[in-house]
Amino acid sequence: MVPMDESKAILPDSWAQMVRSLQHGILNGSYIRVINYHSTPRFKLGEYERQLEFYQRHFSSVSEEDLERFFATGAWHKDKPGLILNFFEGYRNTYEFAAPLAEKYGFIGWFFIPTGFIDCPVAEQHDFADAHHLSVLSDDYKDGRIAMTWDELREMSEAITTRNDQDRIETAGFAYAQSSSGAGLVHPFYAKLFSEGGAPYSNDKSEALLDGPEATSALEDMAGLVREGIVDLSVDAYDFPAGGIAMMVMANWYESAIAEGLGGLDDVAVSAIPAGDDWRTLQYAFFMGVDSGSDRQEEAWALTRHLNEARDGEASCVGRMLDGLGALTASTADTAALPAADAFTQPFVDALAQDRAISQPNVMQASEIEGLMARAIEEVMAGEAEPAEGLETLDSEIEDILAEFY
């Protein structure tokens, strides 16, 4: 590793430049050692323990802050040389054997997780490993699961959360967005509810179904994140572009804000919400309409068409605006005229293409109902109510509103 001028790209422009940088760094002592681990099977546990003992005697752990400081100053600030331990691929044995060892010897592990591997159904994981040249090395697991689960990843992510001397979160492992509409809590709840196979309303919208086991399970999961100290309700996911938050559930239209805040998307990975093989997510759309009571309908429709029609092979005004945000357009003409989805947006497109994106329920007084939902969800997450009890009260309040219209 070499110290970098902050104004330059991380990657060298040429082999020659890379060699020069390496020479410079090595001659000046400006480097950090990196050791890469892949599969860490049980039969090698003794060897790994000896290695970690040696590392502990001769090297210091490297955090993200240490690395940033090293890049900024070109000097290593700890007594012992830095050593980064990388763990690739997200193997189950990494979670079970390597991660506890790293923690035992005081080293921060850097985990590089291909979310496709973790999302892969257990029965297909060996095939996935073969197809992607992932070495498994041993057959430790009779159930065939060789990838870690999202729950195991979540457990390790607790270590991402750091606190300052006043016990206030400095780096949050996970955060929910705070919005006046309550969408920051309600939308993840919907995604979890749909993934559990539940629905918020009956087909005719006359009944709320939030007092069922699916809703209770979804809300218990969300409350569990707070209980385990992974989520702090005072941290707002909308601060993600400022850094200091590792993970969040967010819509694709936030792409431009994230890119602006973080100076690019190189450090951002997007994946489906980890909710099992039958995962689902939420989709919602905006529409433009004209008041049928307006005496300017013709002009209003003309303006609406002007804003939303693709022209001369170019996307419409609204299409270009949405694309600039990172949002998707429902207009096929706009989609044809706009560039293909980037790495950030592709998972959202995939969710739509796979029919895993369920539409936000279109129900009378939706805004009022979702405000009530957000309040109830937050009360449970804050420990002020139990999930089942909170949802029962919420279900009753919503049915009072539904009764006015259905």
Binding site: N164, D165, Q166, D167, R168, I169, E170, S180, L233, S234, V235, D291, Q365, S367, E368, G371, R375, E378, E379, A382, E384
Partner: protein
């Protein structure tokens, strides 16, 4: 009543001229006060989504709010806590400031400084204080952190959030009330203080028996207007906490505002506003009567 008497009692005496001069004010009052209040009272007896037309429902909105809406009652409690704290702490603070700056050098400068919040947009004030009171990055908690203290969760703890909005409200209104008290204090004849001193009255006795007695009308005015302001003010809370966390700072005025413009329940919101208006009116009248006794 004879025509001569009636004419003599007309504003400004005889003729149409007084009414002509009053007409701009009367028109303003009719358009911006009488008509909107009248319409609001009518709406309180209807059910109206602004995208449609009002439908008469009689007393159903009042019945819902008073008998079935627990959240409405919670906001009434919050309203009294907010207004009560604002009056009980804010009025003495303003009086204290008026005393202190009444004797200070550069009192005009001090009075201007304390009045500055009144000249600042309330949303800007709310955002400024959000920055100052932020749990993690706020100036206050960072300063406390430097001396090893954790600092409270100013805006994310339900109890502290109410304390925070009350304190900011006191800070916002202190200058205005201080000016009223300052004017009243300057009207007190120094000879009275001299006479009291000669008679052996101490500072506390002088304050209670002389100063407060003489400035009683100003005290009544500030207390009642502060109470009315506190009962109906919600812009600061809307911008600072949005009524949160979890409704801890949601006052009735904010609840009615959301009901009208977020839930599109204009009729129910008007009923809530009318109930609040009645509460404020009754309590203000009682206050006025009690405080004006012995004046």
């Amino acid at each position: 009543m004879s025509p001569a008497t009636r004419a003599a009692r007309a504003p400004g005496g005889h003729g149409a001229a007084p009414w002509v001069f009053l007409s701009p004010l009367l028109a303003f009052a009719a358009i911006f006060f009488v008509l909107p209040i009248g319409f609001s009272i009518y709406l309180a007896f209807t059910r109206w989504n602004p995208l449609g037309t009002p439908r008469w429902v009689g007393l159903r909105q009042f019945e819902y709010l008073l008998t079935r809406d627990d959240q409405f009652w919670a906001t009434i409690v919050n309203t009294f806590v907010f207004a009560g704290a604002f009056v009980l702490i804010g009025v003495p603070v303003a009086l204290g400031l008026a005393f202190v700056f009444g004797r200070a050098r550069g009192k005009a400068v001090w009075r201007s400084v304390y009045y500055l919040p009144q000249l600042t947009n309330i949303v800007a004030i709310a955002y400024l204080w959000q920055f100052v009171l932020d749990d993690r990055y706020g100036a206050i908690n960072r300063l406390l952190g430097m001396v090893g203290l954790r600092g409270p969760d100013w805006l994310t703890d339900p109890a502290m959030a109410m304390v925070s909005v009350v304190l900011v409200m006191i800070w916002y209104e202190a200058g205005k009330n201080m000016l009223v008290f300052s004017a009243a204090l300057e009207g007190v004849d120094q000879d009275i203080y001299d006479a009291a001193e000669i008679d052996g009255a101490g500072a506390w006795r002088t304050l209670v028996s002389i100063t407060l007695s003489i400035i009683r009308p100003a005290f009544v005015f500030v207390t009642i207007t502060s109470f009315i302001t506190g009962m109906g003010f919600f812009a600061l809370i809307l911008a600072m906490t949005e009524g949160g966390p979890r409704g801890a700072t949601e006052v009735t005025a904010l609840y009615a505002y959301r009901m009208a413009f977020e839930d599109l329940r204009m009729g129910r919101a008007s009923a809530a506003a009318l109930i609040l208006f009645a509460l404020i009116g009754i309590i203000a009248a009682v206050q006025f009567r009690l405080l004006r006794e012995r004046t």
